[in-house]
Structure formats: C-alpha cells, structure tokens
C-alpha cells in the first residue's frame, strides 16, 4: 500500500449511484415470490439514500478553508480529471440528490401498498431509476451524463409501461421514440463538443470555451444548441413537450409521482451547463441561448397553464402542471439573474414535492374508477418467475373511514395552494422569491420581465381555477360515490411530502439561504472548474508514473 | 494509398496474384447473382466467392503474415473452415424455403412435385 488513501466519508459520493444499483441487481437473484424480503430491502435502500443525501447536504454546507462551502470531487478509477470521469457533489447536486431520495422514499412506500405487484421486477426497475437520476445529478462528465440519462430513461420506459394496459402502451409509443430521437441529438451534441474542444469534462469545458477562436466557437455553439434541444425535450419546453402530459397521465400513480423529478433533470443539466459554458465568463459566447430559454420557458408556462385549464382528467392536469413548473424554471434560468435563479431553485424543490404529492393523491381520490388488472399471462418456469398478477380490486386496499374524504380534501387543498402559489405552503414563497427578484432587478424593469411576472400570476390563477374545478368535481360533487379505501402507507407519503412543503415554509430562511448560496456558486464557473480540475488523484503522482497499488511492471 | 507492408518481391507478387484472383472470382460469382436468370440458378453464384475467392485471399493472407512475422501464421484457416461449414447451411435452408414459396404460389420456376429419382 502506498500513498494516502481516501477518507471513508468521501466514498459517500458514489453511494447514491452504487447502492441502488447493487441492491437492484442483487434482487434479480431472487424470484418474485420473496416479496417481503424485496420490500424491506428496497425500503432500506431508499432510506439509506435519504440519509446519505442529508449527510452530503450537511457536508457541502460546511465551510472549507477560506470558503463557505465545499465541493466534493470523486475521481472514479482514481484517474485525474479531466481524463477520468468525476462525480462532483456541490450544493446543487446535493440538493437534487435529496429531492430524489425524498421522492423515492415517498413513492416507493406508496407503491408498496399495491402497485408493486402490477408487473415483474418492479423494485429493480425502481432502484435503477434512482441510480440513473442520482448519477445524472452527480456526474461531471458530459458523456457519462448521457449514460445516466439513458439509465433513467430506460428505467422510466419500464416504469411507464409498468402494469401494462393499452393507455400505457400507447403512451410508451410516443414517449420512447421521442426520447430516442432526443438521445440521438444528445449524442450529436456531445460529439460536436468533443470534436471542437477535445474534452468531455464539464469543468474542463468551462475552461476551454472562453479560449475558443471564432470558427471553433460557432461550431461549439452549434453543438451546444443541439444538446440543448435534447435537454429541452426532457425538460418539457414547448413545443417539445406534447408527449409529457399523456405519458404522465398514463403512468401509474407512484411512477408519475416519481417522474415529477424527471423533467427537473433536464432543467438541472441546462442550468449547470448553461452557466458553466455560457455564463459571465464565457467570453463571446456569454449568454448563448438565454433568450431561447427565456421566451421558450414563458411559452411553456403559457401552454402549461392552458393545458391545466383544458384538462378534464386530474392526471393530465398534473402533467400540465409539470410543464408550468418546467417553463417557470427555464424562463428563470433565461433571465440569467442569480436572485431569480435562487428563487427558482426554491421553486424547483417545492414544485417537485408538490407535483409528486399531487399525483399520489389523485390516485387515491380517483380510486373508485381504478381499472382492473386485465391480462392473464403464462410464463415458463425458465425465468424463475412465477406468474402473479396484481390481485383483484376486491382485495382490501384500505379501510374506508368517513374522515378519509376530509383528509384527501385537505391534502388536495394543500396541493392546490402549492401549485397555484398560494399560502400557506411553500408555493407562495417560491413564487414570491422569483417575483421579488424580477421586480427588484436593478434599473428599469424590462418589458420581458413584466411578461414573465404576468405569466407567473396568470398561470397561478389558471391552476387555481382548474384545480378548484376538478377538486369540486371529484371531491364535493359525488356524494353517492363510494369513499375511497386508503391505506396508511399510502396516506403517509402524501402527508410527508406536504409536510416537507410546510417545513420549507417555516424554515424558509435557512432553505432560501441554501438556495442563494447554490445560485451564487453556479455563477462562478471558474471556481467550480478550479475545484474539480484541481483535485488530483487520491494518491500523489498517479498521473505521473506510479500506479496506486504496487503492481508488477508489464 | 497508404503503404502496404514490405514483403520480399516474390511474396508480394504471389500475394498480389492470389488476392486479385480471389477478388476476381468473387466478383464473377456476384455478377452471376446479377446475370443468372432465375433464383435457383442464382443460388450457385455465391459459392464462387465462398470457396475459391475466399480460399485464394486467405492463402494470400497467410503467406503475407507468415512472411512478415517469419513464422507460420495460419489462423485464417479458421475463417475458411467456418465459411465452408456455414454457407451451405444458409443456402440449403434458403433453397428449400423458396421451393416451398414457389410451390404455394404456383410459380413455374419450381416443379410442382419432386422429380422422380434418376436411376443409373
């Protein structure tokens, strides 16, 4: 053994990727009859992820040296960046990890009430989705990002189709090819960027972009533009987002709820790459594409709000609410104003939690109409998987108590307030933070900002109108309908997510401070690049000659 | 043209001859694919490339590498072996399949019944 070794705690950075991956794979070794074992194992995994995410948040929030925040860089294979792949945990990544873990815990718990039985190998698919999400948030390498995008997409294809059924298959028929095309665009963009800059490391990229000469810069921008379209498809920008409401509406509740964070991955990447490559220090490429994001985001808000109003089904409404949320974030990034972005980050957390809670809730509310499991299936024993379909709907899925409807109603009101940006939950603060940043921008308030403000307000109003309309239709009108049966493990996730929103309101100060610091660090790409590239391999001198572990000479 | 390996002249000439001959035979076979009038005749064409064409080029390759590395290098034999073993599989399956198809569709190209065995 030579050289210094990595402190144990630094390996935490890889765990959000590795843990669900390993557990997911491990569960493939056991057949589906060992359901309890798998339930416990997967629950333990998401809880562990939650703990890891919280630890990481605490760690990045600690001042290190002369700075008030820490960036952890984890060089995979101990190859120094920019050559090897690195994982980078900064505030933004840590926050996204936490959001993923929260959503993961809530939706998994919810799914364990019954949805996990709707198709084979649910746990593995679900945990691998978490792997993909966490990897996409952590990675500091452009192509590795592609790989993790593909993981999360592949898992999402499986999960959208989970439970089968015509509507889901039909939705998959749109969702999959569009994302495949987007993935192709992703690859083209990455290839062009590599061809121009000769690197795949994001931090390295931010260092190289300002130095590019005229022609190279134009080509680089072309590559970035194609890449941007790929991300915008995933982020759901109008007019690239028509697949989204249909898909979200078709997916089963816990999956739709988990998907609340899927568009945020696109937004996250845009935020990260846009500010790294085209931020204030990008020379002639500064602010490249900002207007596209700004106006595209606003168009998305408008379209989302229209869709929210036009939706007859609650799930579809949720899908459009996702669009509103995406559009808001994109437009906020397009402003290029760090105060707006810190508000937007707060908004991102809030709206993700809220939409997730909403999708879970809608399923509980509309439980009466739930479609039965349909198909009979025959399987050969060869796969070690016995046939077991989701049980009949007659099965006791929960106790019908009169208060259920009141609880559901209360949760629905909370969701409405969150999505429309009304008090008392964090939706109001999120909207206020963004509005306040927009209105308090130095100098005259530009007309485009006014447009954004008006759109924010109108989308809130539209959401309010639509959600009251739908809420009244489902919760207040049907006096004769059966009271939905709800299990505690279904109610707890909803309550938990809403509670988090409430906590974000009460603890608005610390949360907002975190977001502010996050936004500020995004504005210092040079700092980020220095942190990432400056971190050498664990043992000194690997990049020179010696191998970390004494090996024979070849 | 990028440079070809530096062989002794005799080897270069031999290899060249073999390779060109193999390529020519293969080309003739493939032209047959184009010129022969019906499907069953065309079935005979590819075996030119698969046998003589492949053989010539493989031998050329073997000579080339053996000379280059000054030791017998005959692993290309494997390619010849597998091509010989597998091409017939395809062609047999294909011939029978098209016979079936032609018969079902009543095409003139295929006899309606198997011809009576020719006895000596």
């Amino acid at each position: 053994m030579t050289g210094t070794t990595t402190p144990l705690v630094e390996h935490l950075a890889i765990l959000p990727v590795l843990l669900p991956l390993a557990v997911g794979a491990f569960m493939l070794l056991f057949d589906e009859r060992r359901r309890l074992f798998k339930m416990v194992l997967s629950l333990a995994t998401v809880l562990a992820l939650l703990i890891i995410a919280i630890t990481l948040i605490v760690m990045v929030n600690m001042p290190s040296g002369d700075r008030w925040s820490t960036i952890f860089v984890y060089p995979l294979g101990n190859w120094p960046p920019p050559f090897g792949i690195v994982l980078v945990v900064d505030r933004l990544a840590a926050m996204m990890l936490l959001l993923t873990a929260l959503l993961g815990s809530a939706t998994l718990l919810f799914a364990l009430a019954r949805w996990h039985k709707a198709g084979p190998r649910f746990y593995t698919l679900f945990l691998l989705l978490l792997t993909g999400l966490n990897g996409a948030f952590l990675t500091g390498d452009l192509f590795n990002l592609f790989v993790f995008f593909e993981i999360l997409l592949a898992a999402s294809y499986g999960l959208v189709l989970h439970g089968s059924g015509t509507a889901r298959v039909r939705a998959g028929l749109h969702y999959i090819p569009i994302n495949l095309v987007a993935s192709s665009l992703f690859l083209i963009g990455v290839a062009v960027i590599y061809g121009v800059t000769g690197t795949l490391n994001m931090a390295d990229l931010s260092r190289i972009v300002p130095t590019l000469d005229g022609q190279a810069r134009v080509l680089m921008e072309a590559g970035a533009a194609v890449l941007g379209i790929a991300f915008l498809v995933k982020a759901g920008m109008w007019p690239l987002s028509f697949w989204l409401p249909t898909t979200y509406a078709a997916a089963c509740a816990p999956i739709a709820a988990m998907f609340a964070i899927m568009t945020k991955v696109g937004v996250y990447v845009i935020l990260r790459l846009f500010l790294l490559c085209f931020g204030d220090e990008a020379g002639a490429s500064e602010e490249f594409g900002a207007l596209w994001l700004y106006y595209g985001g606003m168009a998305t808000i408008a379209f989302g709000a229209i869709g929210v109003l036009a939706s007859q089904s609650m799930q579809r409404l949720g899908g459009y609410a996702v669009l509103v949320s995406s559009g808001t974030l994109l437009a906020a990034i397009g402003t290029g104003n760090s105060a707006v972005i810190s508000g937007a980050l707060y908004y991102m957390a809030t709206s993700t939690l809220a939409i997730s809670a909403y999708f879970l809730l809608v399923e509980l509310i509309e439980r009466g109409q739930a479609a039965g499991a349909d198909v009979l299936a025959v399987t050969l024993e060869i796969f070690g998987d016995p046939e077991e379909d989701i049980e009949d709907e007659d099965e006791e899925v929960g106790v019908a108590i009169p208060a259920t409807i009141a609880v559901l109603g209360g949760a629905f009101v909370a969701c409405t307030a969150l999505l429309a940006g009304l008090p008392p939950l964090s939706g109001f603060i999120a909207k206020f933070a963004m509005l306040s940043a927009l209105i308090n921008e130095a100098g005259d308030i530009p007309a485009s900002h006014w447009a954004f403000v008006v759109l924010l307000m109108l989308s809130g109003l539209g959401t309010l109108i639509a959600m009251t309309r739908n809420g009244i239709r489902t919760l207040w009108v049907p006096a004769e309908n059966e009271i939905p049966r709800v299990r505690a493990i279904e109610a707890i996730p909803v309550a938990g997510l809403l509670f988090l929103c409430a906590a974000m309101t009460v603890a608005g100060g610390p949360t907002m401070r975190y977001m502010e610091a996050t936004a500020q660090i995004l504005y210092w790409p040079r700092e980020y690049a220095r942190e990432v590239l400056g971190s050498g391999p664990t043992s000194p001198g690997r990049s020179q000659t010696t191998h970390p572990i004494t090996g024979g000479t070849p | 043209m990028s440079a070809a390996p530096d062989l002794p002249l005799w080897a270069a000439l031999l290899v060249s001859a073999l390779v060109i001959a193999g390529a020519l035979v293969t080309l003739i076979g493939s032209i047959g694919l184009w010129r022969l009038p019906d499907f069953y005749s065309r079935l005979h064409a590819p075996s030119l490339g698969a046998t003589l064409g492949t053989g010539a080029i493989l031998i050329g390759s073997m000579i080339c590498f053996s000379v280059l590395q000054s030791r017998p290098l005959i692993h290309e034999v494997l390619i010849g072996l597998f091509v010989t073993l597998t091409t017939p599989v395809t062609l047999m399956l294909l011939a029978r399949a098209s016979l079936y198809r032609d018969r079902v569709e009543g095409n003139r190209a295929a006899p309606e019944h198997d011809p009576e065995p020719t006895e000596l």
């Binding site: 028509f242 060869i382 191998h547 | -």
Partner: protein, 969 residues
C-alpha cells in the same frame, strides 16, 4: 410574557384551535364549539389586554426572522387601527361561534366547520396584525382559501359549490394583483415593513411605479371588499351557512379590503389618481348595491347587497382623502360590522325557524317571535340610519363629508345628491326587511310553525343590538376612545377634530338624513306593488347579472378557449412532434451560423479518396435510401436493406481503424436481425397501398415537408461532420489515455482499457441500460397480447402441417424436421465452437479487439443458434438458462470489482493489474479490469438471451392459448 409574544399567542391560538378541532370526532359539536369559543374569547381577552399600550400610541410589535434575504420577516404590528379590527374579529367571532353552535344541524360535521372558522379567524388576525406587507398578502390569500372552504361547507348543494368557487376565483385573482402591487411598493420603498412603508409617502407618490402599484393594490382591495364591478361574488357567497355570512361577509373578510385601503391610506391616498379610482368605485358600489338590495327576494341576498352598498360607502369615504372622511370610514366600519352581523344572525334564525329565506313566503313573523323581531328591527333601523342608533352617527359624518369640498371637481360637487339618494335606498330596503318579514298576514305554506329560537342562539344578537344602542346614544362614552385610537393608527398622525355628538344643530347633513328617511319611506310605498308581484331582481338591472357574465367569461376563457388553444398549440400525434423536434434541432444548430456567419471547412488536407471506399458508400447510400423507400410495405426488404447499411458501417469502421467497433457492430447487427424477425412474426400483413391512384394533395405536401426536414438534418450532420473532420485537432484528452493505457491500464487495446478502466463507469452504466431494457421487455411480454390476426400459427406452418397430415407416410412436423435435419446437426456442433470463440474474445479483449461485451453477444448468439436449430422446448430441455440470474450476477460482479478498490482505500473502480508468474505458463496478465469485464460479459449474455427468448416464448404461449381455446370449444 411580552406584549409581542402575547400577540403571537393571539395569532397562533386560532390556528392551533383549528388543528385541534380538525381532529375531533365528526359529531363532537359541543366540544368543537367550546374549543372555538374559548379560542375566540381568549383572543379577545388578549387583544383587550393589549389596549392600554396601544392607546398610548405605541403599537405592539414582534419581529422574528423568516426570510430576511427577501425582506420578508415575520413581523407583527398591532396599532390602533389593527386593534379595532382585531377586537371585531375576535369579538364577533366569539358571538358567531355561540350562534353557530345552535344554528348548525346535528348531521353536519361540525368540528370541521369550527376548524375552518378558526383558521379563518387566525388568517384575519394575521392580516390586521401584519407588520410586513408580503406577510399581509400571505394571510390575505389564506382568508380567500378558508372562506372558500367555509362557503362550500355544504358542498352537496350546487349553489354552495358555485358560490365558493366564484368567491375564490375573484378574491384569489385580486390577491395575486395585490401581491404584485405590494412587490412594487417594496421596490419603491426598499422594504415591505409597514413601519418603513408608512414613512415613505413621498417616495411612493413620486415614483413612476405609483400608478401601477395603486391599480394593483386597489384591485386586491376591491375584489375582497366586493366593490363594483367585482361585487357579484358576495351575494353568491350567501350559500354559506349563515354564521359564515354573519362573520365573513359582514364583519370581517369583506372588511379586509377596507382595512388595506386604510392601512395604506396615509401613503397612497390624497392624490388625483387615488380620488378618481377609489371614489367612483365606492360611489357606484354604494348606489348599485343599495338599489339592488331593495329588489331582493332572498333575505340574505338583501343583506348581502346592503353590505355591498355599505362597503361602497366606506370605500367612497376613504377615497375622498380627507382625514375626517377617514374617521367616518373607520367609524362606519365598526358600526356596520355590528348591526350587519346581528341582522345576518336574525336572518339565520328566521331561516332556521321557518325553513325559508324567501321574502315572498315570509310574513307576519312578529307574532311568533316578537323578541327576535324587535332585535332585528332595531338593527335594521341602525342600518337605515335612524337617530339614536350607531348607524345614524356615522352616516351623518358621511353626509357631512359628502358635502365638504375635496377636489372641487364635478364628481366631488355632485356627491351630496348621490349620498342622499343612497340614503333613500337604504331606508327603503331596511323597511322592506322589517315590514316584509315581521308584519302583514301570517305566513302560509311553512314547513312548521315558527317560534323563538333557543335563548343562547339569540344572545349574540341581543348583545350586538345593545352595542348599537349604546354607541348610538352615548357615542363618546362608549366608542370615543377606541375610535380615537383607531383613527390615529390609521392616519399615522394626530387625528383631526371631530365630534361624536348626536346633535350638531340644523345642518345640511341633518337635512340629508331627514330627506333620506322620508324619501325612503315614500319610495317603499311607491314600490310596494312592484315588490309584491314577486319579480326577482331590480327593474333596470335585472338582465345585467355580473355573476352570469363572469361565469360565462370564465367558462369561455378557462375552458372553451383553453381547450381550443391546447388543441391549436399542441398535438397528441407523434408525427408532428417528431417534425418539431428535428426541425428545432436543425434550427438551433444553424442559429450560431446565422448569427456569426458561415463556417467553412477546416484547413486539414484530408485523406486521399480510396475508390473502393467511395464505391462502398455508394452501396451504403443505396441501401439506406431503398430502406427508407421500402419500409412501409416491404418490411422484410427493409430489414435486409438495413442489414446492408449496417455492414457498410462495419466495413467503414474497419477501414478507418476501429476494429473493436466493427466487431461489436457486426455482432449487434446479427442479434438485431434475429430480434426484428422475431418481432416481424407478430406484425400482421400490411394492407397494401392506401391510396390506389395518387395520394391526396395534403399528403403530398406533408411528404414534401418531411422530405425537407429530413434532408436538412442530413445536410446539417454532413456539414458538421465535414467541418469538424477537416479542422485542425485540438489537443484531446485521449493523449493521456494512449500514453497510459499499457503502463497504467495494463492493456494494449486502448479502446478496451478506456471501456473497462479509464471510463469504466460509462460501461457500468451501459450494462445497466441493457439490463433495464431486458427487464422492461420481459415485463411487457409477460402481458403480451398479440394482434388477433397473428395469434394463429403462421400460414407457412399451417400449410406444411396440413400437407404432412394429408400424406399417408408423414405426420405433422415432418416437414420442419426434414427441413432442419442437416442444418440442425451443423448448428448444434457449432455451439461449443462459438462458445470457445466467445471465451477467446473475452480473454483477448484487453489487448486485441474483443472484450466482455463482444464475448457476451457472441455467447448469446450461440444460444440463439441452438434455439433456431432445435426449437424452444428442445433447447430448454437440454440447456438450463436463467437469464435474470446471469444479469444480476453480472451487474454485481462489475460493481463489486469497482468497490473492491475501497478496501485499499482508493476510489470506486480504481483498477489494479499485475503480471502473474505461473509455473509452466509464464507471465499472465491479471487486471482487475478483467473481472469487471467478466461482469459485463455475464450481463450481456443474460440480457440478450432474455430479450430474444422472451420474444421467442410468445409463440409457445400463443399456441398454448390457441390449444386451450380449442379445448374450451
């Protein structure tokens, strides 16, 4: 406990109570009422306790940090004005709780009612006690939310639902405007803190943002306070239980708008803009409300419109901008809250006892409930402005202000006439209320005989009417100090001189009061016949229903237009979406060129063209184009053609120095062909030629568009590829890899070393993708339902089986057995051969083309060959494949290899290699990366086999299903 903390307790109590009430059992109405009542009483007690300090001119303050970076801290500030409102909120709240205890029926889930009511109470306190304007908006929106829940409390009734929704929509909209207005104020002042805002009149009034801020804030206030043209929601909110009407729609919520106007009065009032925006709104509301109130047939409707009118009066007073008018506004707010709450409660009692609120059915109730009737009459008299009652004094002050000179404009000068007219109307509707309900013949057709209500239900009215009288008779003793405190809170300065005396001599206002009383009586007499005819609504404005217009507008915009816009701006079809994605990608990629000018090819000379390569690509291009042309009707041909294009790609890879790619691409190509054929089995024959002659023009145009989109993307890619291939090389990171692949990665095949070591993390991800795809396919096929046309065995098999059956010396299945006889033998023997080749590819991968992935695919091809040769059943009888296990083991092996480096203290996937010296054998490279690659190998075998076999199993399943169906017949 400091005063600030006490205030916080007063604010928190209702919310805590609300939560507690929410947890009470559904029918615990006494417990809930006691809880709510004690909260209200305690709150009132605290507020009263706080009076002393406030009266000295020092507001109670509390500051807690919340969102300091946004200028939003939790700030409480209770000055005189707020105190007055707070005491109204708690005091009337307590009475309403008492009343509601008797009003609400036993069947209602009462705890929920009290829970909402308490939450609403807390929100109201929040508004008035806010020391920060954003916080005020926060509570403001909360009142909208809780009032929605309260109005919709009886949600089984459609009117309640509609009323609730309308109230929420209108007030919610106003709240959003208010938020922006407040944000603008914050921008002007630099703070949302009420204390600071109140000191910044000059800043605000002189700012260019003053007008927009004013408009937005007024929108908020007017919607909440039901000012014209937003007044229409209030009458519809009367579908709420009467306690709610009494509380929200007379005493508190509607006064929130008034409170806001008062709060900002010192810094925003007194300008022309203020005057011309506020006064007309107030005036129109005053008149229209009063006028419509006269013609209401619903008791609560009458009260609702009268409320609107009184709110207009107060707004008008505030609009005038003079301190004295503000005093009058404060005073009237108090008075109106008191008499209107009691009137609503009286109306509720009448409704409760008779079962109706329709004035056409009610009559002569005095004889059944004289006590209640008397109380109602006193309260109504106060509403009409009869002397010796509180309404008289404030109305007198209003008349005085109407007469006074403010701006000298025509509007200002005409005010006395309008004020008198409004007075006339108010007398008329008050008379109608009293005479219509309590006098006249006994009512007919009532469900049961009315009688006096429970005493405690009437008690709140008694108390309120008593207060009316006390204020009306001895104003300066009773209300004087409170009013003074409130006014000084409002004005932020010493109040002007005003007198609360009943008698000021024979003044113009007195004359106006007299005219109003007399005129009101006359008007009532004149309208009596008309009113008794039972026509609903006022004569002139009957057809003009704000609510109807609003609903129509709302439905049109928020539903019909939204649906149309969604359809117009979106699509649910795949093709347009694909077009947009591709076209936008092209546009986005071209935009930098448009902005910065075109970029030419780089300076590199480029490699010389090999003729064979050019010819090869001519073939490749022909394949691709024909595949594009044939894929619709000739699926099989398209498959072959794509295979051709793939092979050209492979040869290109080899030609351009990428043997690994060629090997992998070839193997994948083979598997994909088999896969697509397996799939083709389940795609029924296509109906040929949809357009027998010529496709319609629309289709042709669409094809032209598609053609141009596809050509533009192709052109773009070609262009980018050419530009980049001919550009001088940047120093890429691959230098590092090339130099270290052997010395530090222990492999000669750099690509493989990158895959398993330098960028092993990518490979790990990639196998996870493959694993996921396989799992998804497996899951989907478990529930696969084939197309009906393809359930039966393929036509070929049926024909051949029929033939075998017909021939005497053959049995079904012989054809296939004969067919496969020799190929099968060869293919069986190839299995170990291919497997050995797979092992070879795996072992040599680190140094030569090959590697785990290629090896895995090769082995799975070996399996597939067996399946093709011998059939599913036979293979599975002979070879036991557990693909899911293989997959699990594969991923775990890779992950465990990666994690192994932890043990040595290095990051994940840190590789280790060594040359082992084994006796007899010599030096053997042993890299941990090989173990990693082994995982890849396992996974690829498992996943590929799972995919292919799961698909192949469908034939068995459907034949089994077909047999089962036959057996069933």
């Amino acid at each position: 406990m400091s005063n600030g903390t006490l205030l916080l307790v007063a604010l928190a109590l209702p919310f805590l109570g609300s939560i507690a009430a929410g947890f009470l059992p559904t029918h615990a109405r006494n417990a809930a009422a006691v809880l709510a009542g004690s909260v209200a009483v305690a709150g009132a007690g605290i507020v009263v306790f706080l009076y002393a300090g406030i009266a000295d001119g020092e507001p109670v303050r509390l500051w807690l940090p919340w969102l300091p970076m946004l200028g939003l801290d939790f700030t409480l500030r209770l000055d005189g004005l707020a105190w007055l409102f707070a005491i109204l909120i708690f005091g009337i709240g307590a009475l309403v709780v008492l009343y509601a205890r008797y009003y609400m029926s036993r069947e209602d889930p009462v705890p929920r009612f009290f829970s909402f009511l308490l939450a609403f109470m807390g929100s109201m306190i929040g508004i008035v006690a806010s020391g920060n304007l954003v916080q005020l908006v926060f509570f403001w929106e909360l009142t909208s939310l809780f009032s929605f829940l309260l109005i919709g409390y009886w949600h089984h009734s459609a009117t309640a639902r509609d009323g609730a929704r309308m109230a929420l929509t209108v007030t919610g909209m106003g709240g959003l405007c208010l938020l922006i207005g407040v944000l603008l104020i914050g921008r002007i002042v630099g703070s949302y803190d009420v204390d600071q805002v109140l000191e910044a009149r000059d800043l605000i009034v002189d700012s260019s943002l003053y007008e927009p801020a004013l408009v937005l804030i007024l929108l908020g206030a007017f919607t909440k306070s039901a000012q014209f043209p937003f007044h229409f929601w209030l009458p519809h909110a009367m579908a709420a239980p009467t306690p709610v009407s009494a509380y929200l729609h007379s005493a508190t919520m509607v006064k929130a708008g008034i409170f806001l106007l008062m709060r900002l009065w010192p810094v925003m009032a007194g300008t022309d803009a203020w005057f011309y925006l506020v006064v007309p709104a107030g005036l129109v509301t005053l008149l229209i409300g009063a006028f419509i109130a006269i013609f209401q047939q619903d008791l609560k409707g009458l009260l609702a419109y009268s409320t609107i009118s009184h709110l207009g009066l107060i707004t008008l007073l505030l609009g005038l901008g003079s301190p004295l008018a503000a005093v009058a506004a404060v005073f009237h707010t108090l008075n109106h809250a008191i008499f209107k709450a009691s009137l609503f409660m009286a109306a509720g009692i009448i409704d409760h006892e008779t079962g109706t609120r329709d004035l056409r059915k009610l009559s002569g109730l005095y004889r059944y409930m004289p006590f209640t009737a008397t109380l109602a009459m006193v309260a109504a008299a106060a509403m009409a402005g009869v002397p010796l009652l509180n309404g008289f004094i404030s109305k007198e002050m209003f008349f005085a202000e109407a007469v006074a000179e403010h701006t000298g404009s025509l509007l200002d000068d005409s005010l006395p006439y309008w004020a008198t007219l409004a007075g006339v109307f108010s007398v008329t509707y008050s008379l109608r209320f009293i005479l219509g309900v309590f006098f006249g013949p006994p009512p007919v057709g009532l469900a049961h005989r009315p009688h006096e209500p429970a005493h405690w239900m009437r008690f709140p009215i008694e108390l309120l009417v008593l207060i009316c009288l006390m204020i009306g008779i001895v104003p300066s003793l009773t209300v004087g100090p409170v009013l003074a405190t409130a006014v000084s809170g409002l004005l932020e300065s010493a109040p002007p001189y005003y007198s609360l005396a009943l008698w000021h001599g024979f003044t113009l206002p007195l004359l106006m009061s007299f005219i109003a009383l007399a005129g009101g009586v006359l008007l009532y007499v004149a309208l009596r016949r008309y009113l008794e005819s039972g026509i609903e609504g006022p004569p002139l404005l009957r057809d003009f229903k704000g609510q109807r217009i609003f609903e129509k507008l709302l439905v049109t915009i928020s539903w019909q237009w939204a649906r149309a816009a969604e359809a117009a701006l979106g699509t649910r079809h795949l093709q347009p979406q694909m077009r947009i994605v591709v076209a936008l990608a092209v546009a986005a990629a071209l935009s930098p060129f448009i902005v910065n000018g075109a970029v030419g090819a780089g300076g590199l000379p480029g490699s010389p063209v090999a003729p064979a390569f050019a010819l090869l690509w001519a073939v490749g291009i022909a394949c691709a184009l024909s595949a594009a042309y044939q894929a619709k009707y000739h699926r099989f041909a398209a498959l072959v053609l794509v295979g051709g294009a793939g092979l050209v790609t492979c040869v290109t890879f080899i030609w351009l120095s990428a043997p690994d790619l060629a090997v992998t691409q070839l193997l994948v190509e083979i598997v994909t062909t088999v896969l697509l054929l397996l799939g083709l089995r389940w795609l029924p024959k296509r109906i040929e030629n949809v357009y027998p002659s010529r496709p319609p023009l629309k289709v042709l145009v669409r094809r032209c568009i598609d053609l141009s989109i596809s050509c533009s993307l192709g052109g773009l890619m070609a262009f980018l590829a050419y530009c980049l291939m001919t550009r001088p090389v940047p120093d890429t990171v691959s230098r590092f890899f090339v130099e270290r692949a052997y010395t530090e990665g222990g492999g000669r095949n750099i690509v493989n070393v990158i895959l398993v070591d330098f960028r092993g993390f990518d490979t790990m991800g990639e196998i996870v993708v493959l694993c996921l795809a396989a799992l998804t396919i497996f899951a989907l096929l478990r529930r696969f339902r084939p197309a009906p046309e393809s359930i039966a065995a393929p036509e070929q098999q049926r024909v051949q089986n029929a033939y075998d059956e017909a021939e005497p010396d053959r049995s079904p299945g012989d054809t296939v057995t004969d067919y496969m006889l020799i190929p099968r033998l060869i293919m069986n023997w190839l299995f170990p051969v291919i497997a050995v080749f797979a092992v070879y590819l795996f072992i040599r991968g680190h140094d030569l083309p090959g590697g785990g992935f290629a090896a895995g695919i090769t082995l799975s091809i070996a399996f597939v060959v067996q399946y093709m040769a011998s059939g599913t059943r036979w293979v599975e009888d002979h070879l036991r494949v557990l693909p899911l296990r293989w997959m699990g083991i594969g991923v775990l092996t890779s992950a465990a290899t990666g994690a192994g480096s932890w043990w040595f203290g290095y990051p994940f996937l840190t590789s280790h290699f060594q040359y082992l010296d084994i006796p007899f054998i010599g030096k053997v490279p042993a890299a941990s990366a090989l173990l990693f690659d082994l995982g890849v190998f396992f996974l690829v075998v498992g996943a590929t086999v799972l995919i292919l076999i799961a698909l192949a199993h469908q034939s068995l399943r459907s034949s089994r299903a077909a047999q089962a169906a036959e057996g069933g017949d």
